[in-house]
């Protein structure tokens, strides 16, 4: 593990720096908004209640969902650091706001009346009496906000904002525990550090002075962040991907192919699920990502399922056009859903096809990722098509954890995809879709039309990958990452080089 970290030292430092910056900047903004707003609300108790309720509501939105909501919002939204900061500020606001209101309201009214009676102006009373007396409570709120932010900031990686979550998501996507820990442990240490630091300030006999120092620190961090912003220039092509191994590899393949053809590329990989990627490419936050025809058909365009690959492709192209999107040519493999079991179980019971499951369904524990439960071409249709009834409700888990759960015997059947590398590596069995329930899932690049206009030759460059990746190649690459813990970028380059695609 130490060697693993040592190898990644410079990247780890960079991600930690991004993480600290995210937290500092968002905490700074949250304080700048929350404390004055809290002071104003403390004087208007009738207004304080609804505003606090609203802040409370923002707090309850799951962070990934909040990031999703923010993507299409102009100015503050999109993908990247800015959106992450907006979301983190929303999360940090409540504790700061609430503690400011509480802190001010708990100041002894007798002390306030004495202060007024001595001839303090309202401003002097605030500065000399109320703020100093409320400060420990306000600081407690800032402390909570900072610690929560350190945790939430890991999720910011899902929208390409960087930070230690990058390792966590990459690790989850590639089933690499070391990578997950490499992100999670520093994040936990950061949270403890922030907690201890602010706790010391809170207990210090001169909290005022410590607050000034912290504010200076935050201001310096914001300054550095502003200076460090990449200078303007020709915009690189932005390639996105969803948050599982195959998508990351495909993102790297697209990226490396474009670079081989002379494009500058900005990779925003591991961007959460389908909805997030679709929103991002529609808004032009990313220029292209790889989608699957069946997913586009049912999940994005909400069209009925069809077993005919050519028909699906036609409907997808027609559906995308009014959205300002272009569906490219299929890359060459069909990543259909796959119901996967341990070989011993399947052989023991003679299960080969999905329809064989009917007799055993009541006793099987199913693991799947959340998206599949919701999708039109997912669980509900599958149950109908095969007349299946499972005894236990399916367990939702991250894509990256499914096979581990299957191998560990925590579940008996998982819903994965046909190109999952671990199927071969773990000697698992894919059940045949004998009633042709799943539509074709041909992988193809989805591009924003505006981006194609802006980047001459981009369409041709991506089309050069058409038909070049078959199921076997994809499964092999997936296994190289999931099973052999190799880096997706290396695997992608190796594939392109083998296929003669690393040169013009």
């Amino acid at each position: 593990m130490l060697r693993f970290l040592a190898e990644r030292r410079s990247e780890l430092l960079l991600l930690t720096g991004q993480h600290v910056l995210l937290v500092l900047v968002s905490a700074g903004i949250a304080v700048a908004i929350g404390v004055p707003l809290g002071l104003a609300l403390a004087r208007r108790p009738r207004l304080a209640r609804p505003v606090l309720a609203l802040a409370n509501l923002a707090q309850t939105i799951p962070s990934l969902a909040l990031f999703g909501f923010l993507i299409p919002v102009p100015f503050i939204g999109g993908i990247g650091v800015r959106t992450a900061i907006v979301a983190l500020v929303l999360y940090s606001l409540l504790p700061i706001l609430r503690n400011t209101v509480t802190g001010i309201q708990q100041v002894d009214p007798a002390v306030l009346e004495a202060a007024t009676g001595m001839g303090m102006t309202p401003r002097q009373r605030l500065r000399l009496v109320e703020l100093p007396l409320a400060l420990p409570v306000i600081l407690a709120g800032v402390r909570v906000a900072a610690v929560v932010s350190v945790g939430t900031a890991t999720i910011a990686a899902a929208i390409g904002a960087g930070g230690l979550g990058t390792y966590v998501f990459r690790g989850l996507a590639t089933v690499d525990t070391r990578l997950i820990l490499a992100g999670a442990i520093p994040a936990a240490l950061l949270a403890l550090t922030a907690d201890a630091l602010l706790g010391a300030v809170q207990k210090s006999s001169r909290p005022g002075r410590a607050v000034v120092m912290l504010a200076a620190l935050a201001a310096a961090a914001v300054g550095i962040a502003l200076l460090a912003r990449s200078p303007g220039g020709a915009r690189p092509v932005v390639i996105g991907s969803k948050n599982f191994t195959e998508q990351v590899i495909l993102g790297e393949i697209l990226g490396a192919r474009l670079e081989a053809l002379g494009f500058a590329v900005d990779r925003r990989l591991n961007l959460g699920g389908t909805t997030l990627c679709h929103a991002a490419v529609r808004e032009g936050q990313i220029d292209a990502y790889v989608e699957y025809s069946g997913t586009a058909l049912t999940d994005i365009l909400k069209r009925p399922v069809s077993p005919d690959p050519a028909a699906v492709l036609r409907v997808v192209r027609e559906g995308y056009a009014p959205l300002g999107l272009r569906a490219g040519s299929p890359l060459g493999f069909n990543n259909s859903y796959a119901l996967v079991m341990r070989r011993a179980d399947a052989d023991g019971r003679g299960i080969r096809r999905i329809s064989d499951l009917v007799r055993y369904a009541a006793t099987l524990r199913v693991g799947l990722f959340g998206e599949f439960l919701e999708r039109e071409d997912g669980m509900p249709g599958l149950l109908r098509a095969y007349g299946l009834r499972f005894g236990v409700p399916p367990r939702e888990m991250d894509l990256g954890l499914l096979y581990q759960a299957l191998a560990d015997g925590k579940v008996d059947l998982v819903v994965g995809s046909a190109t999952d590398g671990l199927i071969a590596a773990m000697d698992l069995v894919v059940l045949a879709d004998d009633r042709h329930y799943f539509p074709p899932y041909d992988a193809l690049p989805v591009m924003n039309e505006d981006s194609l206009r802006r980047h001459a030759g981009l369409l041709e460059a991506l089309e050069s990958l058409a038909g070049r990746i078959d199921e076997k190649a994809m499964r092999r690459m997936n296994y190289a990452v999931d099973g052999e813990h190799r880096r997706p970028a290396d695997v992608a380059r190796e594939f392109l080089s083998g296929a003669g695609l690393l040169s013009r």
């Binding site: 002390v111 004495a114 007024t116 009676g117 001595m118 001839g119 303090m120 102006t121 007396l133």
Partner: protein, 245 residues
């Protein structure tokens, strides 16, 4: 002799509808101590607070230090008026020294002068400056806090002191001693004092004159001897009698 404070026909009704002052009239001559004596709810504290505009009267006329109340900027007025309240109302995170010199600080006195004044006043109210100046209010006894409260009220040498149950929260012994000290202090300083209390013996000990209040009006006013020896029949007589041991 001129009146330092004069209220004429002052009314005050709180938003709850309670009538606190019902045409109150009274005056305090310069250099004299007038005690407002009454039960809780009699309007005596409200009357006091109309003088430094912590409470705005609804009607009637108030003249303070020779000027109608409206012509005073409330902030300036309060800085010219010493204010002492029950439990002292000291600023908890300020040292004793800074608490005492609070009004001078607000008036912008230089630090050295504030420190000197603070020490002078601590000595005046019987607290050793070397020992007490750096302490926080929480480190003091109730009696010590009240002394600091009086020192604070005197810090900018205001001509007028408003005192709201200044010794109310003290044990009888300490209260007695502080009352004596207040009398000694007052004979030296000769301030105009408006003091509110519900304690009959205290009123008689401290007041040059006593005004007995009930339901927002003064029922009887006179020297302590007059009020004690010939209270008006009815409320005043009952109230005075009830306090006799």
């Amino acid at each position: 002799m001129t009146a330092a404070v004069e209220l004429a026909g002052v009314h005050k009704r709180y938003p709850s509808g309670a009538v606190a002052l019902d045409g109150l009239s009274l005056s305090v001559d310069e250099g004299r101590v007038l005690v407002l004596l009454g039960t809780s709810g009699s309007g005596k504290t409200t009357a006091l607070k109309t003088v430094n505009r912590l409470v705005e009267a609804d009607g009637g006329s108030i003249v303070v230090l020779g000027r109608p109340l409206d012509s005073w900027d409330p902030i300036e007025l309060r800085r010219r008026t010493g204010y002492v309240i029950q439990e002292a109302g000291l600023i908890p995170h300020f040292s004793v020294e800074r608490n005492v010199a609070l009004v001078p600080e607000l008036l912008g006195w230089p630090l050295a002068r504030r420190v000197a004044r603070s020490r002078e006043l601590l000595a005046l109210v019987g607290l050793d400056p070397a020992r007490f100046a750096p302490l926080r209010p929480a480190q003091l006894s109730g009696g010590e806090r009240q002394r600091v409260g009086i020192a604070r009220a005197l810090a900018a040498d205001p001509p007028l002191l408003l005192m709201d149950e200044p010794f109310g929260a003290l044990d009888p012994l300490t209260r007695h001693r502080l009352q004596d000290e207040f009398r000694g202090l007052q004979s030296k300083l000769g301030k105009t004092v408006l003091l509110v209390t519900h304690d009959v013996p205290e009123a008689f000990r401290l007041g040059d004159e006593v005004a007995v209040m009930d339901r927002g009006r003064v029922l009887q006013r006179g020297t302590p001897a007059q009020v004690r020896d010939s209270p008006l029949p009815g409320f005043v007589a009952d109230f005075i009698a009830a306090a006799r041991p």
